[in-house]
């Protein structure tokens, strides 16, 4: 295991036949799976087909057996399950030890995790312990003619894309950005094999305790989860005052979407939230992203340029946001946004 010392460029991988299978880590909180896990099964299925190997998941948690059947429904044929109270709250150490244990024992060649807070917390320790490579935040995965995983990811604030390979250590570990892949079709008739494992970790061994969880969806805090949103309406500094945030909220509500902000809007106190979209904030990839009075600084676009359709509303024709936009409206957000909301309401009323 680990980096091969005598390896030379172009040489075939030493232990290729020892490592087989594509694995997906099923991320969950209180037994509730993260959608990205199922998205990973769609790209995972594609990789497994190209490699002609099995597609498996790792389910680790406390009372999470129901996620095994869900794994099958979304395309896995085998699940490695570790179910114990010590895995109730996510903590780095018990989780990385469990993942490492499973990888050491069963030797998959590809391991995929979501590029989420949790996935990014877990991947580094796993790869470090296994002395192998990782590629963070992929948006595309493929297999080359030598069975190597081609891992493509944005870098330099999304200005460039890089394709990364790991030729000399196994497994090849990647995290994949949420919403970069489609959720596969459900097939409720599918079943598979559950491999139960257990780990000898006790609560006393773990130096980290989660004392409290403050859930913002219950209105208790300013961090909102926008990574799952299909439609995002983003307020920039161009909304000018906190009263005008209401019109952003109304458009989002009308479209069934979520509101988001630029960093400048948050820092100027124009919005009720504390998190923003961008390089130093959240990366999102909705189907529709509506940027309202956002200039499109590179630090902002780094976090949203992969959205399917980007709509920019800005009265400055020169604003860089128009360079990443699919559609643009040159105009005053304070007029255009309410006009869109009115028209959507009108169309709905006509139906």
């Amino acid at each position: 295991m680990g980096v091969r010392q005598s390896w030379k460029k172009g040489e075939p991988i030493m232990a290729e036949e020892d490592y087989k299978g594509v694995w997906v880590f099923v991320e969950q909180t209180d037994g509730e799976p993260a959608t990205v896990s199922w998205e990973l099964l769609s790209v995972g299925a594609d990789l497994a087909r190209k490699l002609d190997v099995e597609l498996c998941t790792m389910v680790i948690g406390d009372n999470v057996e129901h996620l095994c059947q869900e794994s099958f429904v979304y395309g896995a044929s085998k699940v490695y399950l570790i179910d114990a109270p010590v895995f109730h709250d996510y903590r780095t150490e018990p989780y990385y030890r469990a993942v490492r244990y499973l990888i050491d024992k069963y030797k998959p060649e590809v391991v995929l995790l979501g590029s989420t807070s949790l996935g990014r917390d877990l991947t580094g320790p796993v790869a470090t312990e296994l002395n192998t490579g990782l590629t963070e935040g992929c948006t595309e995965l493929d297999i080359d003619e030598n069975r190597l995983l081609l891992q493509t990811r944005p870098a330099y604030s999304g200005n460039i894309m890089a394709t990364i390979v790991n030729e000399r250590a196994r497994p090849q570990i990647s995290t994949v950005r949420p919403r970069a892949m489609e959720v596969p079709e459900k097939d409720t008739s599918r079943t598979g094999e559950i491999v139960r494992e257990s780990m000898d970790i006790s609560e006393e061994d773990i130096g980290v305790k989660v004392l409290e969880v403050i859930d913002s969806s219950k209105g208790e805090a300013g961090a909102i989860d926008i990574t799952a949103a299909d439609i995002i309406v983003c307020a920039g500094r161009g909304i000018q005052s906190s009263e005008n945030f209401q019109m952003i909220q109304e458009l989002a509500d009308e479209l069934g979407g979520a509101v988001a902000c630029s960093r400048a809007a948050v820092e100027d106190g124009l919005t009720p939230v504390e998190s923003w979209v961008g390089q130093s904030g959240t990366t999102v990839r909705p189907r529709i992203y509506i940027a309202c009075g956002v200039s499109g600084a590179i630090q902002h676009t780094a976090g949203m340029r992969d959205s399917d359709v980007i709509i920019a509303i800005n009265y400055d024709k020169q604003a860089p946001i128009f360079e990443v936009a699919t559609f643009g409206i040159e105009g005053d957000v304070l007029q255009v946004v309410p006009a869109i909301t009115r028209y959507v309401r009108e169309l709905r009323a006509r139906k």
Binding site: G124, L134, I311
Partner: protein, 270 residues
Amino acid sequence: MLIVVCIKEVPDAAYINIDPATGTLIREGVPSIINPFDNHALEESLRLKEKHGFRVAAISMGPTSAGETLRNALAMGVDEVVLLSDPVFSGSDTLATTKVLAEAIKRLAEKEEVAIVICGKQTIDGATAQVGPGIATRLKYSQLTLVDQIQNVDDQAGKVRVRRMLEGRYEIVEATLPALITVVPQINTPREPTVRMQMMAEDAEVTLWDNEVMKLPKESIGVKGSPTRVRKIFSQIMPESEILGDGIYDPEGAAHLLIDTLTEEDILSL
């Protein structure tokens, strides 16, 4: 007790471009800056120093030019800086980078007990967010990522309590020291160095640890110690944008055109 803050010098992302002919990065004329997240890491380390009387050391692995970034850390109030620079370190991926940084922290810890290591959430160039976790794993420190508040440090009891900012929720977490913390920019507003401090920093010494000092096996660092390799670099081409209507003089018309276009093209269904 020592706080170690890890800082990286990065090319200013706003200036990065690809040479369309060769497919390589154009580096000329691209200014180097401190990774912006690391300014928040630095600031937080200085606040811990002021509050608890800890000493602060800043370390950076990079080319010799990164010495300037470290000098700036001195001007902000850091007590000691170490530059990790050697041709054999270059080309390191995250696995090899964390090897060098973790070994450097071990060396510092030989002289003075380390309480906390602080990193930025991620960089603006590689942006993997994996260096902090890699260091924590190698040193067997408690790992606390995405921290937006360090609420309490109790070095007597050997405990730290932080708030983590996650998707749609916060977590209050307590961990045993030593701990590695990665910080989000919400944690603080970094200070500006004073002129007096800047002048002092100009003459201050930047300690250099090359591999003569570090003595790390070559196969664990640099290109040799890096399992990942960049095979190809290319620009992401964005399609031309289409300006709809005349939003200045006819906002209603432009709004209608937008929604009609979205529904006709099956992007939106109402």
